[in-house]
């Protein structure tokens, strides 16, 4: 456990020292959402209608982009092969890095979301469910994305390739995330959607670190 937390602490420290790394995902999130009123036009009812969808899509893209470097810098400077040779399971290393990643990007995203909901004119009833759904959904995005980040290591392609691999897998989270918010706005119950998001998370929690570790071992051959 000591080893696990020392990796989490290191990654947090790296994120904080490297200027505004953690802020950057949020800023991308904000800018991507703000592009829509500019592209689509300012009519409030249209914006309100598409608000939940746009916020979730932007969250997907922001997670995806920030995941790109999850293992890459460690791979390039030889840290990753050394981590593999340390006396703790590679799955734990992956879990530690995903934890740090979520703390530095997922969490700020959740904090910023209500603000963007206001910008997009979203109905007030959706706010709390939006935040809840993001709390359940973003860790799944980080976990699934970690698999993609491990698979592309060494290809030298980065974001482009990652998006192709990972975005289709994000679709269920997107759909249930949006539908929870839409249901809340229309006054329907949201329990089912939130439960499904939670179930995704529970399934991803053991499966994804295991798959990522397998992919990392491949990459270091």
């Amino acid at each position: 456990m000591n080893r696990f937390w020392s990796i989490v602490r290191r990654d947090l420290r790296l994120a904080l020292r490297q200027g505004m790394d953690s802020l950057m995902a949020v800023m991308f999130f904000v800018i991507a959402v703000v592009l829509f009123p500019l592209g689509v036009g300012p009519e409030p009812n249209i914006l309100a209608r598409i608000a939940a969808g746009v916020i979730w899509v932007a969250a997907l893209l922001a997670s995806m982009l920030s995941l790109e470097r999850l293992f890459e810098t460690d791979f390039e400077d030889g840290s990753l092969e050394l981590l593999l040779l340390m006396p703790l399971p590679l799955e734990a290393v992956v879990m530690a890095k995903v934890t740090a990643h979520w703390l530095t990007t997922g969490l700020p995203l959740i904090v910023a979301a209500p603000l963007l909901a206001v910008l997009m004119n979203m109905d007030g009833d959706g706010f709390s469910v939006l935040v809840l759904a993001l709390i359940l959904g973003t860790p799944s995005l980080s976990l699934v994305g970690a698999v993609g980040a491990a698979l592309i290591l060494g290809s030298g392609r980065g974001g482009m390739l990652l998006s192709l691999l990972v975005l289709p897998l994000f679709i269920p989270v997107l759909i249930f995330g949006v539908s929870a918010v839409d249901a809340a706005i229309s006054g329907f119950p949201v329990r089912a959607q939130l439960l499904i998001l939670g179930a995704f998370l529970l399934a991803a929690l053991p499966l994804c670190p295991w798959t990522s570790a397998a992919a990392l071992r491949q990459a270091l051959e």
């Binding site: 000591n2 080893r3 020392s6 990796i7 290191r10 420290r13 790296l14 020292r17 490297q18 460690d74 390039e76 400077d77 030889g78 840290s79 092969e81 050394l82 981590l83 593999l84 040779l85 340390m86 006396p87 703790l88 399971p89 270091l220 051959e221």
Partner: protein, 218 residues
């Protein structure tokens, strides 16, 4: 019987046989020097020994037991220094070293003395990005001194080091061997280590040997 040994090893990289039918054996307190022309497979052999690569054939054993069987134990008794220096530019020298020490041993107490041994104690508070090529190498080597390990695997450890640092490394290797540790290292420079065995990778290159495995890989 030798403590650390490899039997009939075959290494295939990039769909090509790098070396075949290679044997090696190192005893407690022993040293093995890997030599050979560029591309002869020194780095590849060290990665096999570390468990980063799996041999296409043959086995690597510790005390008679296959190292692949209990990789966690093999990891715990080994220090590996590769071509790359795993140093984060935004962490200070001391923080960089401490991180690896904690991961290896569970606590990072010994980090200070290790910097001393490689002449970079005065850089302890300097961020990694300000280091020159040789200073990075020294910091990477300092990991060796943070915790005892029975086996050191060093890939061209002297690359980029000045004479003083090479002397420091030679001392460290002598200390390691005097307490019964083993050292395997690759080098192009002449490195006089008393009683070290030399393994020339050129002797095992596939040029001289045609194995069936090479023909069958699709």
């Amino acid at each position: 019987m030798a403590l650390f040994s490899g039997d009939d090893l075959l290494c295939i990289r990039g769909e090509r046989v790098v070396f075949a039918a290679l044997h090696f054996a190192v005893d407690a307190g022993g040293a093995l020097l890997l030599t050979g022309a560029n591309g002869s497979g020194k780095s590849s052999l060290l990665r096999l020994m570390a468990g980063l690569l799996a041999p296409a054939n043959g086995r690597i054993a510790w005390d008679g037991e296959d190292t692949g069987e209990d990789p966690e134990r093999h990891k715990a008794r080994m220090h590996y220094v590769g071509h790359l220096d795993p140093i984060k530019p935004v962490l200070t020298v001391a923080e960089n070293l401490r991180f690896w020490a904690v991961l290896k041993t569970g606590n990072g107490a010994a980090a200070g003395g290790a910097l001393e041994a490689f002449g970079i104690a005065h850089l302890a508070g300097v961020p990694g990005r300000y280091l020159s090529a040789g200073q990075k190498r020294r910091l990477n080597l300092a990991r060796l001194e943070t915790s005892p390990a029975a086996l050191w695997l060093l890939d061209e450890p002297t690359a980029g080091l000045d004479a003083e640092a090479v002397a420091g490394l030679r001392n460290a290797i002598a200390r390691q061997r005097s307490v019964g540790g083993m050292v395997v290292l690759s080098t192009h420079a002449e490195m006089a280590l008393d009683g070290a065995e030399v393994l020339d990778l050129g002797d095992f290159s596939a040029a001289t040997q045609m194995t069936p495995a090479a023909e069958e890989t699709p």
